[in-house]
Symmetry: C2
Subunit: 305 residues, 2 copies
């Protein structure tokens, strides 16, 4: 059987890899039921810059729709997006824009939405890296997911993005089945068709709160039924989840990805939004004893081939 560090060839030797290996080795003694790993998606498992891939998907659908129907470009939310008018976007507000974008897919069944995402992902490319968007997953994180799975962890993707968007790609990209994706949930309308058979159709509302911050805890418990002992994230929206993961007595690990690699990916600071006085999330992580991953120093490879 390979050792834990042999399972992580894209991680450079050092304190970060030692902490990960130490956790994996200790986790082998944890009861099976408690082996739950929760990983954020954007910026943790794949690239989130310059824009979220889910946002690209919505704007792509909007452009198609505007090409078919000129009236679409007259809707203020859509006009702001299509012209890239940042001032108008700020004035309208992200909530109204998100609702308008969700309206593009209102009335679809979950299966039809799933197919639309998969069609987009088959052709989407990253605007600056010149790679297919679907290949912008981080190789070291894929290795870590596989190492966790070899230890019979339930590996879940816990995303601030739309649950159904991530479900459409999670099996292919991460080997994560739909039930292990926890995100922001769209509300469905229940209908009976003309033949009497029941179905669910997408609405424009969401259930509860967007899946960020303390909402991640509530949604993990609701959907997965237990506290993780491993959590990985990269932003303020992951803070409570990482703190929760290390709040028990047994082996646990909170892993924070620091985007400090301008050469191979992007360099940016995420703030820990739970503070009134903005503080970089990496500072919070170091203060709380999390394992902070330097993309530039700790990863020999960034993207999967």
């Amino acid at each position: 059987m390979p050792t834990s560090s042999e399972l992580l060839p894209s991680w450079r030797p050092g304190a970060t890899r030692d902490a990960v290996v130490g956790f994996l080795d200790a986790a082998a003694a944890v009861p099976l039921r408690d082996r739950l790993a929760c990983l954020d998606n954007e910026g943790t498992l794949w690239c989130e810059r310059p824009t979220y891939v889910q946002f690209d998907f919505f704007v792509d659908a909007l452009k198609t729709r505007a090409g078919q129907d000129p009236n679409v470009a007259e809707v203020p939310e859509f006009a702001a997006l299509l012209t890239g008018d940042r001032q108008a976007i700020a004035t309208i507000g992200l909530e109204r824009i998100a609702t308008a974008l969700a309206g593009l897919f209102a009335g679809l069944t979950p299966a039809a939405f799933n197919a639309a995402v998969q069609q987009f992902m088959a052709r989407a490319t990253h605007p600056t890296l010149g790679r297919p968007s679907r290949s912008n997953t981080y190789q070291p994180m894929l290795e870590l997911v596989e190492a966790l799975r070899r230890l019979d962890f339930t590996v879940a993707v816990v995303t601030g993005g739309g649950t159904e968007f991530v479900r459409a790609i999670s099996q292919d990209l991460y080997g994560v089945p739909p039930e292990a994706v926890v995100g922001t949930l769209i509300e469905y309308e229940y209908r009976r068709g003309d033949d009497g058979s029941p179905s669910l159709l997408r609405s424009t509302g969401i259930i509860g709160a967007a899946n960020e911050g303390s909402a991640k805890l509530a949604n993990i418990q609701t959907q997965l039924g237990r506290r993780p002992i491993f959590a990985a994230g990269n932003s303020g929206g992951d803070r409570e989840m990482l703190e929760w993961a290390v709040s028990g007595d047994g082996p646990s690990l909170a892993l924070l990805v620091d985007h400090d690699d301008e050469a191979r990916e992007f360099k940016y600071v995420s703030s820990a939004e739970t503070f009134a006085e903005p503080e970089p999330i990496t500072d919070v992580g170091r203060r709380l004893g999390w394992t902070v991953v330097s993309m530039a120093d700790d990863w020999a490879t960034v993207f999967a081939d």
Copy 2:
């Protein structure tokens, strides 16, 4: 490799077993992602008469509490339950009683509630069958669950009962992990402890609607992310789920357990509550082409040893 009928030794040969075997054989050609099986719990996987086991659990906790604190018996909801006053129970209403009972466990963490259920289940016995409550699972259904799992189905328990109650026993009883239990969800309060670490504590409210009827569809989609192609149930609360399971084009099966076995279990008629004019759910099932299981005729064995 054993044939599907060899995997179902407690099912008597006949049209019902043929329908189940036919589905299992056809399902081997279904894409893996679509292999989702949803089974109701009470009356479908285990005995629900004379009272739900979850109700027994709450009343047991109530009696313990009343023994420690005489004031508990003065609460009208509890007094009605402790004296078995059906008139008072009807006047107060099930919703107020359920909220009062949930209050017995308010403030507990999910892990502490889980432990309380497991302690109860280790000692609970059925009031008339003289068997441990935990052994009142139906052997033919356990065989069917195992046959589905051999085909790499995701097997989910979709219960009208409390999600967290069923999660505490689903792995041991059915091999179903917490993330594959879909039920009525308790609401949690988010707290930060004195040491700053976050946690979730049970409240007395529920999230959304009780998991019956069309709510089962919404909660299956929310939590598991797809439509089942196999569903099993026994009452009006399962109707929409069974209809949904057979609404697609590929192989599918809707299985309805008919409690017609007074000698070995119980004999009773469940009504299809979605009709104003009450109609037995078995009549609905026969009309819609579901496979109706006669416990008396189709099962050689009822309970697991």
